[in-house]
C-alpha cells in the first residue's frame, strides 16, 4: 500500500496508480491532454529563451549597423544573394514539410509523417551544404571575422606583383599565380569544400552513432533508421554543396570579360564586376564577425534540429506516435519553425543591404 495520508478524510483506497499502465503517459501526469499541454508550454518557454539568446546577436547587429552603415553596405556585397534566397526557400520548404508532418502525426498517418520528416531532414542538409560552400568561398577570399579579415583591396594590390612574378616564372611566383587563376580557385574551393563536407559527414556520422546509442534495446529497425538518416543528411549535404559550387562556377564563368577574369582571380566576382567601387571602410571585418556569429550559431541550431528530426524518424519507424501522443513531433516542429524564423530575419539583414 502506498497511500500517503494526505488528508485524514482520504480514507478510501484510490487506485490512481493502476491507471498508469499506458507507457506513453509519464507517471506524474493524469491525462495525455495534460502531458501535451505541459510539453507545449515547456517548448514555448524554451523558444522564448532562444529568442532572447539570438536577441543578443541581433542587438550587436543593430548597434553596429546603425553606427557604421557604410560597413554593412560595403561588406554585404560579398554575400551571394541568389544562394541566400535559394537557402531561404529550402528552409521555408522544410518548414512546410515539418508543419505537414505535424498534421500527419495529429491524424495518425505514420507514412505521411515519415515522408515529411525525411524531406525536412534532407532540406536541412541541403541548407548546410550551401552554407558550407559559402563559408569556404569567404575563407578563400580572406573575408573572415575582424581578427582574420583580409581586405579585398589588399588582394588587389598584391595581385599586381604576383602576376608580374608569374610572368618571370619564379618558383614562388608561379605557385602564387597558380593559386589565383580562375580554375585553380575553383579547384581549391572544391577541394576545401569537400574537406569541409567530410568534416560535416563526420559530425553527422558521430551524431548518428550517438543517437543510436541513446535508444534502449536498439534493434535492426532502429539501426536501419539511424543509418538512413545519416545517409539522407550526407547526401543532402553533398547535393547542396555541389549545386552551389556548380552555380557559382558556371553562373559567373559565363562570358566573363578579360578584366573580370583578372579581377576574379583575386577578389570575389561580385565585387570585381562593380565599376565604381565603394571605398572600403574601417571595421569591414566587423561585418564578417557578425555574419559568422549569426549564421554559425544558426547552423549549430540546424544541426541540433537535424539530430532531433532523426530521433523523430527513428521513433516514427517504431510507430511511437499516435493520434493522442504526438507531442514530440509538435515540439520539435515548433523548434524547427523557430530556426526557420530566425533565418527569415537573417537573410534580409545580411544579404539584402542596399
Amino acid at each position: 500500500m502506498n497511500t500517503a495520508a494526505t488528508t485524514p478524510t482520504d480514507e478510501h483506497a484510490d487506485s490512481h496508480d493502476h491507471e498508469h499502465h499506458d507507457p506513453r503517459l509519464a507517471h506524474h501526469f493524469d491525462s495525455h491532454q495534460q502531458q501535451f499541454d505541459t510539453g507545449k508550454l515547456g517548448i514555448w518557454l524554451f523558444l522564448v529563451t532562444e529568442v532572447l539568446f539570438f536577441s543578443g546577436l541581433f542587438g550587436f547587429y543593430a548597434v553596429y549597423r546603425s553606427l557604421h552603415p557604410e560597413v554593412f553596405l560595403y561588406a554585404s556585397q560579398f554575400l551571394d544573394t541568389v544562394l541566400g534566397a535559394a537557402n531561404t526557400i529550402v528552409l521555408l520548404f522544410s518548414s512546410l514539410t515539418m508543419a505537414w508532418g505535424v498534421r500527419c502525426a495529429q491524424l495518425g498517418q505514420t507514412k505521411g509523417l515519415l515522408t515529411c520528416l525525411v524531406i525536412t531532414l534532407a532540406c536541412a542538409a541541403i541548407f548546410l551544404g550551401v552554407k558550407s560552400f559559402e563559408y569556404t568561398e569567404k575563407a578563400h577570399h580572406g573575408l573572415l571575422w575582424a581578427g582574420m579579415y583580409q581586405s579585398p583591396e589588399h588582394h588587389e594590390a598584391a595581385a599586381v606583383p604576383a602576376a608580374a612574378g608569374a610572368v618571370e616564372s619564379g618558383d614562388h611566383g608561379a605557385a602564387h599565380a597558380d593559386d589565383h587563376s580562375d580554375d585553380a580557385l575553383f579547384e581549391k574551393t572544391k577541394h576545401t569544400l569537400s574537406y569541409m563536407t567530410t568534416v560535416l559527414w563526420a559530425v553527422i556520422l558521430l551524431s548518428g552513432i550517438g543517437l543510436a546509442a541513446l535508444f534502449k534495446n536498439p534493434n535492426q529497425k532502429t539501426m536501419a533508421a539511424v543509418l538512413g538518416c545519416v545517409l539522407i543528411s550526407a547526401i543532402g549535404l553533398q547535393l547542396g554543396a555541389y549545386a552551389s559550387i556548380g552555380y557559382h562556377h558556371f553562373g559567373h564563368a559565363a562570358e566573363p570579360t578579360a578584366q573580370e577574369i583578372e579581377m576574379a582571380e583575386t577578389v570575389p566576382a561580385e565585387y570585381a564586376k562593380q565599376k565604381e567601387k565603394i571605398p572600403e571602410p574601417k571595421l569591414a571585418g566587423t561585418f564578417f564577425s557578425v555574419y559568422f556569429c549569426m549564421t554559425g550559431l544558426h547552423a549549430i541550431h540546424i544541426i541540433g534540429g537535424m539530430i532531433a528530426i532523426s530521433w523523430l524518424i527513428v521513433r516514427t519507424v517504431h510507430g511511437a506516435f499516435t493520434t493522442y501522443y504526438f507531442g514530440a513531433v509538435d515540439f520539435i516542429g515548433l523548434y524547427w519553425h523557430l530556426v526557420d524564423l530566425i533565418w527569415i530575419y537573417l537573410f534580409p539583414l545580411l544579404y539584402l543591404i542596399n
Binding site: 518557454l45 571575422w145 557578425v290
Partner: protein, 573 residues
C-alpha cells in the same frame, strides 16, 4: 508496496507522521541517486553541491579577509589575491546563490507544496543538475589552470587576451550553468502552470511558489542573454571577432550592457526566492495569516519585471551616456517600492501573532534586519549623484553582500531550517541552531557594516593593498568574517548531526498550513497518491498542536481525539 509506519502513535486517526520508508530510502545504491528522476533527491544533490561550493567560496573569502588584515603581504601576492576574489565571486554567484534557494530548496519543496507528484519535466530536472555539475567542473578547471583574474564580471578588454585558457573555461562554466538555471526555471513555470491539482488556484498558492514563479520568469528571460554574452566573449577570445575588443573596433561599454542585462535580474533570482521563504517562515512561526497576500504576490512579479529594466545602474560611471543613466536611475527606484511593500507586510503579519523564536524564525528576523539595511543602502546607489562617488567602492561591496549574501543566504538558511524536518525527517538541535544563527547574524554585520564606512571614506573595491588609515575597519571586517565562517560551519554541523542523532520529526512540527506539511516527514516517493485538497495556505487555525505527537495535526483530528481543538501546545523549542 510501501510499508507505512507511524512512529508517533499507531492507534490514532492522525495522519502519518514519520515514514520509515520514504523517498530517501525507497531505493538504494548510487544509481538510484545519480539517475533518479525524483525531484526531492535531485534537490538534495543540489543542496549538497551548493553547500560544498559555499564552503569553497567561503574559504576563499576567509583567505581574502586574512590578506586584508594589513596593507602589506600576509598570505599571497596580488595575482593570487586577484584570482581568489574572482573565484570567490564567481563561485558564490553562479554555484551557490543562484541555485541555492530555487534549485535546491525549490526542487524539494515546490512540487510538494503545490500538491504535484513531480515537476513537469523530471528528466530535464536531472539534466539541469548535471549541467550544474558540469559547469562547476569548468570552474574547477579554471581554478586548476590558474590565471582567472578578471573579476566575476569578465569586463572587456581585460578578459580578452592571449593566454586565456582559464577565462575560456570559466566562461564555458558560466554558459553551462546558465542553461542549468534556465532548465530549472522552465520546469518551475511549467509545473506551476500545468501541474496544479484541482482546487489549487493561483491565489491559493503559498507565496514561496509565487516567488519561485517570479524567479523562474527572470531565469528564462535573462539567462539566455548571459549565454550569448559568454559565448561571444569566448569567440572573441578564440577568434578575435572584434565586437568587445576595442583594439579591433569593439565596444567595451556594450559588453557591460550585455553582461548586466542578465546579471542585474540575476540579483533578483537570488533575492526573490529568499523573500518567498521569509513570507512562509514569518507567517508559520508567528502563527498568523500572512498580511496582504495579494500585494506580496504581485510585488514578486513586479520585482521580476522591473528587475529587467534597471541594469544600467551598474554603469553610471562606465561611460554610458547621461540620458541612459538618468532613465535607468529613475526606473531603479521603482524596484524599491515592491520590496518596501513586502517588508511592511511581513511586519504587519507579526502583529498580534504568537511568535516562536525557532531557528528558522531567528534567521527570518535576521533577514528582516539585514534586508532593511541592504535594501535601504541601495537607495544611495540608485541616486545618480551619490553613486558616482560610491560606485566601485567598498560601499557597493557592503551593499551587495547585505542583499546577496546576507539576505539571500539568510533566506536559504531559514528555508533549510524551516523545511529540514520535512527534508530529512529529523529534528535538529534548536539550541545549537540558534547559537549558530546568532553567530551568523553578528559575524555578518561585523564583517560588512564597517565596509560601508570604508566605501564612503574612499576605499575602492578589488584592492590588494590599501591606505594605512583604513586598516582598523579592515581588521574589524576580517574578525567578523571569521565569526561568520565558524558560525556557518556550526550550522551545518548541527544539521548533519541531526541526521544521525536527531529525533524523528512529526509531519508538521511548526504548524504550517500549506500542503507540504500534510504529507509525512520525509515524504514518500510520489509525494501524494491522490491530489490533495488545497485550502488557504495561511489559515494557521486549521492545525493545532498535539503533545503526543510533538507536532501539529489538523484541527478536525484533534477534535476527534480529545475535543480540545483550541488549546495551544506547549511547544518546546
Amino acid at each position: 508496496m510501501a510499508t507505512v509506519v507511524d512512529s508517533s502513535d499507531p492507534k490514532s486517526n492522525y495522519p502519518i507522521q514519520y515514514r520509515e520508508l520514504n523517498y530517501l530510502n525507497c531505493s538504494k545504491g548510487w544509481k538510484s541517486w545519480f539517475f533518479t528522476l525524483d525531484h526531492k533527491r535531485i534537490g538534495i544533490m543540489y543542496l549538497m553541491g551548493v553547500t560544498v561550493s559555499f564552503f569553497l567560496g567561503g574559504l576563499f573569502a576567509m583567505l581574502l579577509r586574512t590578506e586584508l588584515l594589513s596593507p602589506a603581504k600576509i598570505l599571497m601576492g596580488p595575482d593570487t589575491y586577484n584570482q581568489m576574489f574572482t573565484l570567490h565571486g564567481a563561485i558564490m554567484t553562479f554555484l551557490v546563490i543562484i541555485p541555492g534557494v530555487p534549485a535546491a530548496i525549490g526542487n524539494i519543496i515546490l512540487p510538494v507544496m503545490l500538491g504535484a507528484k513531480d515537476v513537469a519535466f523530471p528528466r530535464m530536472n536531472l539534466g539541469s543538475f548535471y549541467l550544474w555539475m558540469f559547469g562547476a567542473t569548468f570552474f574547477l578547471a579554471a581554478l586548476v589552470i590558474g590565471g582567472l583574474d578578471t573579476g566575476w564580471t569578465f569586463y572587456t578588454p581585460y578578459s580578452v587576451r592571449e593566454n586565456n585558457a582559464s577565462i575560456i573555461a570559466a566562461l564555458l562554466g558560466v554558459f553551462v550553468l546558465g542553461f542549468s538555471s534556465i532548465f530549472t526555471g522552465l520546469n518551475f513555470i511549467v509545473t506551476i502552470h500545468t501541474m496544479r491539482p484541482p482546487g489549487m488556484t493561483w491565489f491559493k498558492m503559498p507565496l514561496f511558489l509565487w516567488a519561485l514563479y517570479a524567479t523562474a520568469l527572470i531565469q528564462i528571460l535573462a539567462t539566455p542573454v548571459l549565454g550569448i554574452t559568454g559565448l561571444l566573449l569566448i569567440v572573441e577570445n578564440v577568434f578575435r571577432i572584434g565586437i568587445f575588443d576595442p583594439s579591433l573596433g569593439g565596444d567595451p561599454v556594450l559588453f557591460q550592457h550585455f553582461f548586466w542585462f542578465y546579471s542585474h535580474p540575476a540579483v533578483y533570482v537570488m533575492i526573490l526566492p529568499a523573500m518567498g521563504v521569509i513570507s512562509e517562515v514569518i507567517a508559520v512561526h508567528s502563527r498568523k495569516h500572512i498580511f496582504g497576500y495579494r500585494f506580496i504576490a504581485y510585488s514578486s512579479i513586479a520585482i521580476a519585471i522591473f528587475g529587467f529594466l534597471v541594469w544600467g545602474h551598474h554603469m553610471f560611471v562606465s561611460g554610458q551616456s547621461k540620458v541612459v543613466a538618468v532613465i535607468f536611475s529613475a526606473i531603479t527606484f521603482s524596484v524599491s517600492i515592491p520590496s518596501a511593500i513586502k517588508v511592511f507586510n511581513w511586519l504587519t503579519t507579526m502583529y498580534k501573532g504568537s511568535i516562536r523564536f525557532t531557528t528558522a524564525m531567528c534567521y527570518g528576523l535576521s533577514f528582516l534586519f539585514i534586508f532593511a539595511i541592504g535594501g535601504l543602502t541601495g537607495l544611495f546607489l540608485a541616486t545618480l549623484a551619490t553613486d558616482v562617488h560610491l560606485h566601485d567602492t567598498y560601499f557597493v561591496v557592503a551593499h551587495f553582500h547585505y542583499v546577496m549574501m546576507g539576505s539571500s543566504l539568510m533566506g536559504l538558511f531559514a528555508a533549510v531550517h524551516h523545511w529540514w524536518p520535512k527534508i530529512s525527517g529529523k529534528m535538529f538541535s534548536e539550541f545549537w541552531g540558534r547559537i549558530a544563527c546568532l553567530g551568523v547574524f553578528l559575524g555578518f554585520n561585523l564583517t560588512f557594516f564597517p565596509q560601508f564606512m570604508l566605501g564612503t571614506r574612499g576605499m575602492p573595491r578589488r584592492y590588494y593593498t590599501y591606505l594605512p588609515e583604513f586598516q582598523e575597519l579592515h581588521v574589524l571586517s576580517s574578525m567578523g568574517a571569521y565569526l561568520l565562517g565558524i558560525s556557518s560551519a556550526l550550522m551545518v554541523a548541527t544539521l548533519v548531526y541531526s541526521i544521525y542523532r536527531g529525533k524523528k520529526a512529526p509531519a508538521n512540527p511548526w504548524g504550517g498550513a500549506s500542503l507540504e506539511w500534510q504529507c509525512s516527514s520525509p515524504p514518500p516517493h510520489n509525494n501524494f497518491d491522490h491530489p490533495p485538497l488545497a485550502g488557504d495556505p495561511y489559515v494557521m487555525e486549521s492545525v493545532v498542536y498535539n503533545e503526543e505527537i510533538g507536532g501539529f495535526v489538523p484541527a478536525e483530528c484533534q477534535g476527534d481525539n480529545n475535543g480540545s481543538g483550541t488549546a495551544a501546545g506547549e511547544k518546546e523549542v
